[in-house]
């Protein structure tokens, strides 16, 4: 790594059960200098940092949280490959630090017994010892060391206790390579799987019996008292709804201020660049393509930070497992895991953090099924589109005299998304992602005060992954879409991007008598405009003309782009928002080439249905590519979702025509 020159050359792996305090210890040992990547070919996260040993720094690899090394899950397979030195670009570890939760000794030691069988030097780091002692239990660490024949170090990441000793012991075991207890050595190799598990647990039971004195008074069931409320059949659900409401509030409201600021910031940056750079294609590319495109995605950063702050908090306190416990029955009806609930809820704000949140689901198929349906949840980017259509065609109308049609439609759009998601999940789990249901065995860890450093680091790691995406795939797609709208240039409209005042004087008058700004002329003559004409036959059954087609094409970058593109096409100024009366008026006035109105309420409704179901968000595509580690899934997703959207929109329009709503 960076300071290999003065490094010890040692590679150390950190292994432990989930919830054993492994991440906290990793952070305490490595500080903020961490590298996060994926293992080659899979989406298991690979975290690496440098840890200062007496001999110089070593590479510390944080293995995924594990209960076993039997390679039944992807995480276990990866961990096994790391320990045996079979991951390319990664040296075989010289020693393993096994993180063992003192309050849950028996099950935690199971992984340690498996590590022994790999013949790799092991040091046990005993965590949660403060909690353990507070509960008045006692553990004889020296005796434990003797029985396991490896060093056991009591650590506390918060106070730094045991950190130096741990480093010292690691060097010791690398030098001395102590023999593993003979009960586990050799003899186990030829035995059947089950017999091995029995033998390991028998060994552990004996060790624990000789080293631990449990306090008979069961006051350690503090967590169970909290659980009486939090997983209560009625109050548990009420509290869960409250937690989710708070989460929504954060993502929708609290995030909006920093998002607006970011949006304005990118706007000012664009204006500044436009003023400072010489006029020309390069400036247009930088301002309209790169800054607008990447900026349009980076404005979601506050939402992502907040969501991951919440998720980290919920996971670290132990509440996340309870939420999955409460909802597993509901989710399993459609073949999903209880843990799929939170990613899906988050997707109502934005599918990007939602999809990133599926990492908490261990089973690959369950996780992919969740990813594939997450974009059906109506995200905040659809709101401007719904709002515009409702404002334009359904404003002021009511049903039963008092319920506004707008509210009914809004609810209908959200429900349509959820309904289709359920159906698709049901089908996927029986076809493409068919698998015997993975065992649902989930630890409900004791409630704990979260470690804020771990929480923040987790949040920042996620945010950084997202920013990196924005810098690569999203950048490329932004440039392509910009070019489609920008080229070919016709001489007439060249001036508009440089100086809007000069451009005003170069307007063109269409046959309908509508004046067009150079911006709308340019869009019509661009590749995107031509593409709009090309796809017109295909979208005619949906009641869309080629201008709507152009806006549809642009909206595949991001849904809300529809509004600004319509504004440009209908010539009402770029910065109009969804509530703009000018844009609403323009939609009412817009005519097709044959003079019929381009928009009717039915067209509006059809467009809304299309937007509920279509996969129109390049950022989501990029994130799915990352999270599934293949282009196959995002392409499948675009195809099936957009196909569904097309069919549903056609049914809406043709059905509406038949019923006489044209």
């Amino acid at each position: 790594m960076h300071d290999a020159a003065q490094g010890s050359g040692f590679t150390i792996a950190l292994a432990g059960n989930p919830n054993a305090g492994k991440t906290t210890l990793f952070n305490a040992l490595t500080g903020l200098k961490q590298k996060v990547a994926n293992y080659p070919g899979v989406t298991v996260e690979r975290k690496q940092g440098s840890w200062r040993l007496p001999q110089g720094t070593s590479d510390l690899i944080d293995l995924p949280g594990l209960y076993s090394l039997d390679a039944t899950s992807l995480d276990e397979q990866i961990a096994r490959e790391v320990i045996t030195g079979n991951v390319s670009g990664l040296a075989r570890p010289d020693a393993v630090v096994a993180v063992v939760d003192a309050t849950n000794l028996e099950r935690n030691l199971y992984l340690v017994t498996q590590l022994f069988e790999f013949g790799i030097p092991v040091v046990v780091a005993l965590t949660m010892i403060d909690v353990f002692e507070k509960q008045k239990h006692e553990i004889d660490t020296r005796k434990l060391e003797r029985l396991l024949n490896v060093p056991v170090v009591r650590v506390n990441a918060k106070t730094g206790r045991g950190r130096d000793e741990l480093a010292k012991k690691v060097i010791e075991v690398i030098r001395a390579r102590p023999q593993v207890p003979h009960e586990l050595n050799g003899g186990l190799a030829d035995q059947p799987q089950h017999a091995k598990i029995f033998a390991r647990y028998n060994f552990i039971s004996n060790v624990v019996q000789e080293t631990v004195r449990h306090n008979d008074k069961e006051d350690h069931r503090f967590s169970e008292k909290i659980d009486r409320v939090l997983t209560h059949k009625f109050f548990g659900l009420v509290i869960l709804v409250g937690v989710l409401l708070l989460l929504f509030q954060a993502i929708f409201s609290w995030a909006s201020l920093p998002m607006d600021l970011l949006d304005k910031g990118f706007g000012s940056l664009g204006d500044w660049l436009r003023a400072e750079m010489p006029a020309g294609v390069l400036t247009d590319l930088v301002v309209d393509g790169i800054v607008a495109g990447v900026g349009g995605v980076l404005v979601f950063l506050p939402q992502i930070l907040l969501l991951f702050l919440f998720i980290s908090l919920l996971e670290d306190t132990g509440y996340m497992a309870r939420a999955a416990f409460l909802l597993d029955r509901l989710m399993s009806r459609v073949g999903l895991h209880g843990k799929a609930f939170l990613p899906l809820m988050s997707s109502f704000a934005c599918a990007i953090p939602g999809i990133m949140a599926t990492r908490t689901i261990e089973s690959r198929r369950d996780r992919f099924a969740t990813i594939l349906i997450a974009p059906f949840m109506s995200c905040s980017a659809r709101l401007p589109v719904y709002s515009l259509m409702i404002a334009a065609f359904f404003a002021g109308k009511t049903v039963f005299g008092f319920v506004s049609v707008g509210a009914v439609l809004m609810l209908a759009m959200y429900s349509l998304g959820i309904f289709v998601a359920i159906v698709v999940a049901f089908i996927l789990k029986r076809t493409l992602l068919k698998a015997p249901p993975p065992p649902f065995l989930m630890e409900l860890p004791p409630y704990r005060v979260p470690n804020f450093r771990t929480v923040f680091q987790n949040m920042l790691t996620r945010a950084w992954l997202f920013v990196k995406r924005a810098g690569t795939v999203i950048l490329a797609i932004s440039i392509i879409l910009w070019a489609l709208m920008y080229f070919p240039r016709d001489g007439k409209s060249d001036a508009f991007t440089h100086d809007n005042n000069v451009a005003e004087s170069q307007t063109e008058v269409t046959p309908e008598g509508v004046t067009l700004t150079p911006e709308s002329q340019q869009i019509q003559h661009s590749f995107a405009g031509k593409l709009g004409h090309t796809i017109e036959p295909a979208i005619r059954p949906l009641g869309f003309d080629w201008k709507i087609g152009v806006a549809l094409i642009a909206s595949f970058a991001a849904r809300e782009v529809l509004v600004s593109t319509l504004s440009i096409i209908y010539n009402v100024g770029k910065d109009d928002d969804a509530q703009s009366q000018t844009l609403v008026q323009a939609l009412h006035d817009a005519k097709r080439d044959d003079g019929r109105p381009a928009w009717t309420p039915l067209t509006g409704l059809t467009l809304m249905v299309f937007f509920v179901l279509a996969m129109q968000c390049m950022s989501t595509v990029a994130v799915v590519r990352r999270e599934t580690n293949s282009w196959l899934w995002p392409i499948f997703m675009i195809t099936y979702m957009t196909g569904l959207a097309y069919v549903a929109a056609m049914l809406t329009f043709q059905g509406g025509m038949l019923l006489g709503f044209g």
Binding site: N104, E106, H194, R329, P439
Partner: protein
């Protein structure tokens, strides 16, 4: 599932009661996972509660709390 063997399984243990594991059946995958989590013959399990919709259930084993679906609990043969 119950008809396959007449022996009582964990699903029959009432909430708040404890039982001792006699055997772990089910598919190899489920049985192995259960055993790796410490559910092996001879161990004592206590059923703590069920989730609001009746499934999954929460048990206490080897000093920690474990949630499992009824289908998994049915693979655990017990003696009350």
């Amino acid at each position: 599932m119950k008809s396959r063997s007449e022996k009582p399984t964990l699903t029959q243990v009432p909430i708040g009661s404890a039982a001792r594991v006699v055997a772990v059946n089910g598919t190899n995958r489920i049985a192995r996972r259960l055993m790796e989590m410490g559910v092996i013959p001879g161990v004592r399990l206590e059923v703590l509660k069920t989730a609001p919709f009746g499934d999954p259930i929460e048990v206490r084993v080897r000093g920690y709390n474990l949630a499992m679906r009824r289908s998994e609990a049915d693979a655990i043969e017990v003696a009350v």
